[in-house]
Symmetry: D3
Subunit: 246 residues, 6 copies
């Protein structure tokens, strides 16, 4: 099996995260995974949805969008209603990040995560989650009071794995690989090596338990590397804070 640029089946594409890519939001990060580029921003508002008013607890919500020019063929803006795909992705990003946020530690505030895809070459939802963690930590630093609980309790990253038509497992599929894969799987894991979400679909081709186990093995490898890249981007001061209580 030949992947672009001689990449091995169990290797990520070249991945980088650039902090502070926008001037105004309290947290922002540009993540590049091969040709995929996503701007992730975290903003904080001093109110919560009505079901949380008076509870002392905060909320985190996520939005995901693509520039129409991000893809091979121009994609229409979702100006009337969101597609099912977009809603699924937004809900996934929100769940993934909420799983590592102590909502009591942020008080009655709402953190909004905006993931805007500037260029799309496969794996945008996973890149969005991985980049957003960095923006989120940056933003939380602005509301953190030394000696209190830092709101982000752990790292979280996401990666795609799949099976190609020959039944080989592949880590981190680009657009061409994704289009021809027979099984498509997204895995979200925490910094402590546990699973937060597994979504595996074999519409065109049911898969055996053995194939599935192989994909999960690859995902564990990839997540490990992504979390290292997150830590490099954040630097030791912020890394030290994640998960600290008091």
């Amino acid at each position: 099996m030949d992947r672009a640029h001689g990449r091995r089946c169990d290797r990520l594409r070249h991945t980088s995260i650039t902090r502070h890519c926008q001037n105004y939001p309290p947290g922002s990060a540009l993540i590049e995974v091969g040709n995929t580029k996503v701007i992730c921003a975290a903003t904080i508002a001093d109110h919560v949805p009505s079901f949380l008013k008076g509870t002392g607890q905060g909320w985190l919500t996520a939005e995901y969008s693509m520039l129409p020019s991000a893809t091979r063929d121009r994609v229409s803006r979702e100006r009337n209603k969101l597609s099912g795909r977009t809603q699924e992705i937004q809900r996934l990003i929100g769940r993934a990040l909420r799983s590592v946020v102590d909502l009591n530690a942020i008080g009655e505030r709402t953190i909004t995560i905006d993931c805007d895809v500037i260029q799309a070459d496969g794996g945008t939802r996973c890149a969005a989650i991985t980049g957003a963690l960095v923006a989120l930590v940056e933003a939380c630093d602005t509301i953190y009071k030394v000696g209190g609980t830092f709101p982000v309790t752990d790292f979280v990253a996401a990666i795609s794995v799949g099976l190609n038509a020959d039944g080989e497992a592949l880590l981190d599929l680009n657009y061409d690989e994704d289009s021809t894969a027979v099984v498509d799987c997204n895995v979200v894991m925490s910094g402590r090596g546990q699973f937060i979400e597994i979504q595996s679909t074999g519409e065109g081709h049911p898969f055996s338990r053995r194939d599935f186990d192989k994909m999960i093995d690859f995902a564990e490898l990839g997540i490990d590397e992504l979390i290292s890249i997150q830590k490099d981007a954040l630097g030791s001061d912020l890394v030290w804070r994640v998960g600290r209580v008091g």
Copy 2:
């Protein structure tokens, strides 16, 4: 761990499927899983979405809805836009059933699967998939020409599994169990014992690979039993047709 009615952790609730529960659609089935009741209907239209015109190939799409009176607290009708949850469920049902349909064998027709929840006590999306397979086979019989390819190529069923707060795996969660579970997993499998879809979420509680494997073991048991129930409902003549070519 005590479940309602002394049910064991690895057992389904009482499940039955009643064929032909409506007079007009070519296929219909009422599935009852404990207190959960879903009417599944399959109808066939002589046209296809525009992207399939002239290809000789058909399509299958699914819709899911709840009566407002199906739940403990009345749930509003989705009359302006669909919630993300409903869209996810509809897309899941559609993918699950398309994975066992030979779209060439149905010609340029569209099969619509309607899943209407009459009463909801947990597991409605899985019940919808399991019941819809029966309605689908019944409906396909009306367009099947003896000697041709029967459009349904395999059985398909779905079941929920989860982890409760004590870390025990549970098969087929009812509403109360689902509300308190820390991990929630839906599994769709084919009649040949392969996986079509796995969706596992641990928003409140990341899970280990060992816990995950235990849940998948339980799901395999449950699916096996559900497919037996589908076969009993369809009867030997229709069971014989599923997967036959010519």
Copy 3:
């Protein structure tokens, strides 16, 4: 004139009302009129629309919907906006039931009547009103304090009448009769034999005052019988309460 099953022009189809057809709402009833089947549910919420806040008075509102599989040809779900037909029916059901409810006696609560058509063979709006009265009485019993005013002040039922192409009046039209009728009339009456609503339309065929009087005669007969069926379904204890003050 031959009607299906030798039915006479002035006779109803076989009609039955089954109470408590769902587990969760405080009132529910399945009404079957020939092949027409409607689930009617009444739920009670502890708030009122803003125009009633602080008045001590309650409200009643109604919603009507059909399963897509309820009809001969699949009917689309109304997920973007309601058709004019659906809105007219909802408004009619709401007016009919409000005419027999003492809104002061329910306090600042909102009763929602949900009428979901499971199978449609003509006369669904009339069946919905007739079945909903039973669900409403059942639900009101849960908020009734003995010695107070029972919120339902009278019975109410509805029936269709029409003129066929030969100018004959017909009571309780099924779908085939309704499709070929030249005049279509819906009549809502109270348990005391007075009129609450008359809607008579002769789009294809204007009608004389004499024909109209004949239709109203038939409607009076039909309503009488429907109210007996409601009373049988409710049983003497609940029948006794309707209309009692203190």
Copy 4:
């Protein structure tokens, strides 16, 4: 019972119809009924809805709207969705006028009736129907070929009747009378004295058959006078054409 300006219970308000009140549409009429003023226009387009293509038959549809400044309290524009009330009125106007149009005689064209209320003092839907008939006849004259069938087959007019709190029947209610009436009834009749539509509602107060008969008597008187006013507005040439075949 004292009505404004000493009007008797069985008398219309002062009513006039002014033809050709706009320059551009082929038919237009301003109807004034007391303080109620409605501009009615009829336009003709050379196409039909898809269900009529190729049938040689035309269609007629109606729209109804109010200026926000037409009422005592400003009423919001219906820019997002139509209220149930507006939809009911539009459907009523359409049915009323279609009942006197020979859709084959207009060929594959669509006539749109626009009724825009400039000032509202009760009875706007009835005024709209009565005025629209005049605009319709005027517009049909532009597509009529001498010797052919004139598309309008009869006159049609509408009037409101009601019962006040004292149980007296009233013809042609103004806004104040309408607000306090306990029964409200709209009647549409043809030039030949037959009924096209009767809609009678007693939400606050069920009514007896005798009261109902009294209201219908009044409506017959009012319609008679309205049709005379229509004939005066149209003039003998156009009156002569209505209902002529060849």
Copy 5:
């Protein structure tokens, strides 16, 4: 260059303003500019948008609409969403009138300006602004307390100018002139001869600075005359109030 009715390039069409053209709103005016006719109404509500609550300051907003029958070819009602053109016009009318209103002097109230075009022959947005000023002054008189500040601080009027295909400047274009103009310019000016808004577009034909200056010269002439017509319509008592403080 020949204009209809021998009109010179620098002359307005015949223009009149009729006050109090509707019974119910506190201010209303019918403006006729040639064949263009617009009903302008001003209503006052005792609340403000949320961003102004508690500030003691009021607001003014404008809505613009056309009867479908106002134009040569019937124009559809904007019942689902507003066109960009309508939104631009509404925003322009609102800005123009707010520029001459002292929002503190009206207290926490909202003035709504409704401009409904009854007949459209070019220049409807300018006619709307010019007519609305008269309705606005009339309405403000109902909330004015003698000795206080009159809320309208100056006159405001608007006029169109353009360049035809021969490069000639034209004042106050009718529909035919507007359709063939290569440059289209709308100018809003105050009673003191200053500019409030200039919008000049040469989509089909860029224009020189000299041509532009010529158009502005014409606009100044036209506005002068329109303000005289406004003053005649209002009468000396109301004219005297405009711009008075205390």
Copy 6:
């Protein structure tokens, strides 16, 4: 008057245009004007709106959007309906670019201009037009056949000018200057020094003709410089093509 970084009243901010900032669309450019950053992309589709089918002529349309994180305070996505502001900007961009495109030379194709604001510090609509011209020329090169007519006939750029509270004219306002300006003016000009659009608004402060002339003088200076920057970005080969016929 002190502007940020000692900028003179008649000077632009630092402006740069980077071509080919995205991989997939045929034309793309990132324009940076001070802190304002806009990605402009041009894509070409092989169809036209229905009103142009069969005419041999093409079309150009524009869309404008902001990332929610582009501004000081997070701005909501326009997912249900576009604001009036966004619609005005889109229409302005479309008109500006169409004024320099020969729609016959592109054949029956639609060019879509997407302007996505990554960071907003005032002047985004003008930056969008100026950057989009570069993306447009780049994209048109892909459909240009040597010897034919190059579809872009001239350069076009846009700049803002304004009056501050002291009555001084300012060129190219940043966000802070724009927020406090009393007059706001956007000017679109062609490469030949003619005007395509002038929009000048003095909501809070009417302006004299002399002030207006001063602003236009400044705009002419700014446009001149912007067109030089466009030419530098495009390079001599592409510059040479603009406006060439055959």
